[in-house]
Symmetry: C3
Subunit: 315 residues, 3 copies
């Protein structure tokens, strides 16, 4: 499977090089008719080197041209050298090769509360439900089967994938005589501009006040964000991560897949949490933690080496 | 964002103190117009101290009155002392400040099988699907985009959030000659009274007989309950927990976020399983386990200290 | 709760023994009216021994007949000995006791794009959304509230449970000046024949090319499959597993519940990944790994023993 352009005429390598401001010394008039991975590419395809581990695939790839990072220590007449191959790839796909048909406008099969305020150029897919007093900013795209509870505030240019639930009740109970009484969750969720949320992710409303997802943050699939969590701007939260109630993330935080963060913690600006880590303590600005329970990277590595040696010694 | 009461008139602190049976020595006729966290509260707000870690926020809070636990070792004329601040908060919110608009009645956009038996005062949201022979007890609230498969039995006063799936097939296959043959899942799910299930959680039907969620149990978001699991009464199962097939939980079990419990196990009454724990063995009544693989708390702590010392020694 | 047959007449043990090619020495004309677990069975029920840990329940079970493995080292006139009790159970359920009402045909409450190509005898439940240019093979069953994005290719005899999302955008961003720019995800998802996907699982479309789920693979609930992942044939992927982008699985791979596999890895044919494992490296053919981080089983066990001894010594 490869992506082919709508017009059969194709686009020349010269045009691509100009768009991405690349350095290229090969034949510039060759015509590109699709974009593919190194493995899948054929003679009329553009490809890209997105990760050093794929360097061995370059030689055998049939691609006509390959976007590579400026600093790549190898040579090939097919290379188009750029600062960031992924950014160049995005440029090329957006300009010529993105022919996907995504939802446009408000589907007649969506349910929109009469009190909701919907911005300009908003798309809401079939079977999506927009509750009372919801506000949605301009150019936001909501795929089918999304549930937005009452009172949610959504910024501009957001993307919510199918199965997303925004504003469901936080997990708040008080136990009296062995029974769990529900604490009404009367706060809301506020999502700032340019946030993307992956399929089947859940973001709970606050017990009081707001659960907040900051501007430009990207959330992957099946992620849990608890009530009163505050996520900063431009964070990356990868699939199946869970963040428990009232925890606050700074800006530019990265949390890798399946990691969990306990409640009432502070995760500093630029902190990085490794895949499958279990975080039970605050993480200062810029610190990287790993493991379960999560430890600063050096301490994690030190313990790992110590256990490895211990197990060896006992043989 | 704060919660404001519908009538602008507000409610006096005296009325609040009476409702929650609190002890209070400050000015009783002051009018409260909303409830907010310590940080967000302004001069006409009630706030509460839900967790000792927030004590440092009391001094700087602008709240007019604060619900605090009787035993709090500090003093402030704004304190309303009560046995359980969260319970008092719930009382106040339920009485005066819960203005949310939740679904009422059966949405004309829901799909209800003709053989389903729906109790009195049941709400079913848009795009929720209720399968054949489902029974739903009185006063149960089903949000939009919930899927209830055929044969499911649901008690009274339950709450199911958006994206919940009840009664999907258990993961049952028998491998013959390298291929996996499906074992028909002909049992059902039975959910007792007063169960709440968070958004995007899945509860599989039994292969034979029943998967059971006991009375008063509260399940958070993105939780997986396998086929033939039996969860006891008044359990707390936090977000992203997974419980594999045929495992039985006693009553009052607490399982913290992202923990997993293997299949065919018995988890005793009042057992507690820590966050991100991976449980591969039975847990006796009242025992607390942690870690991956999960160990009784003392053993877990002993190993943790041993590894820490070992890593230090090697420096 | 037990399963009862539609006709009240029942089926004789002799008929069951013939169907499953079993060995049986008890009274053959006795009539069976339902199938139940050992614990739940009454005198007119067939039961089965699916797991050695249930042997103690045989003596007290009231079942009239019990499917057991040929090699079981015990005797009882009620035993019907077969090679695989689960397979025999499936045979009996399919033949006489599966009375469930599952969706048939295309629901008038589903949304099917006009460009979608739907095979013969396909079922699509209420509130399921089938995007543009989707292809669905014959005899595939899609439950309510499933979202299939544009361009997805689905084989024959597949089963997708409620809440499944196929073809949502992969998590692809390039960070420029601290902001995350979206890389268009222009590839598709291709699902081969006989694949079952559990409720609330997400399978992302490829950035370029295909995300592939191989023939006969069975995926449980709440599973995440990242963009450009290639899953081989006849794999078992248990609940809440996450597989990050571009990772390739061979055939007959088994991944137990809540395990995670990092991106760009190769997992060999017949590899086995333990529950809650966190895999950060390639796994060769046939190798079994466990733990977080995941290690080959022997190394995992060696470290576990070493830590246990160390902790004991320090007491």
């Amino acid at each position: 499977m490869t992506v082919t352009i709508p017009a059969m005429s194709g686009v020349s390598i010269a045009e691509i090089v100009t768009l991405v401001s690349g350095r290229y010394n090969g034949p510039a008039d060759r015509v590109i008719r699709g974009v593919a991975t190194l493995k899948d590419a054929t003679e009329d395809h553009l490809s890209f080197l997105g990760n050093q581990s794929y360097v061995p695939q370059v030689a055998s790839s049939r691609a006509a041209a390959i976007l590579v990072p400026n600093e790549l220590d190898a040579d090939d007449p097919r290379f188009i050298r750029v600062a960031k191959p992924h950014a160049a790839l995005a440029d090329v796909l957006d300009r010529w090769f993105n022919t996907r048909k995504i939802p446009r406008g408000i589907s007649p099969l969506a349910s929109i509360a009469s009190s909701a305020k919907i911005g300009a150029n908003v798309a809401v897919g079939a079977f999506s439900s927009i509750g009372e007093n919801v506000v949605i900013g301009d150019d936001t795209l909501i795929y089918p089967n999304v549930s937005v509870y009452d009172g949610t505030q959504i910024g501009r240019r957001c993307i919510f994938h199918s199965g997303v639930v925004i504003g469901s009740d936080g997990y708040g109970f008080v136990t009296i005589g062995g029974k769990h009484r529900k604490i009404p969750q009367v706060g809301i969720v506020r999502i700032e501009d340019d946030v993307e949320i992956g399929s089947n992710s859940s973001i709970d409303r606050a017990v009081l006040g707001e659960t907040v997802i900051g501007e430009g943050t990207k959330i992957d699939n099946l992620v849990q964000i608890g009530h009163n969590v505050r996520v900063g701007k431009h964070c990356l939260i990868v699939s199946q991560v869970g963040i428990a109630g009232s925890t606050e993330l700074g800006d530019h935080v990265v949390i890798a897949g399946q990691a969990g963060v306990a409640g009432h913690l502070k995760i500093g600006n630029g902190a990085q949490i490794g895949g499958a880590a279990a975080v039970f303590h605050d993480v200062p600005d810029g610190v990287k933690v790993m493991g379960s329970p999560a430890l600063p990277f050096r301490e994690y590595a030190r313990r790992d080496v110590a256990i490895k040696r211990l197990a060896k010694k006992r043989d």
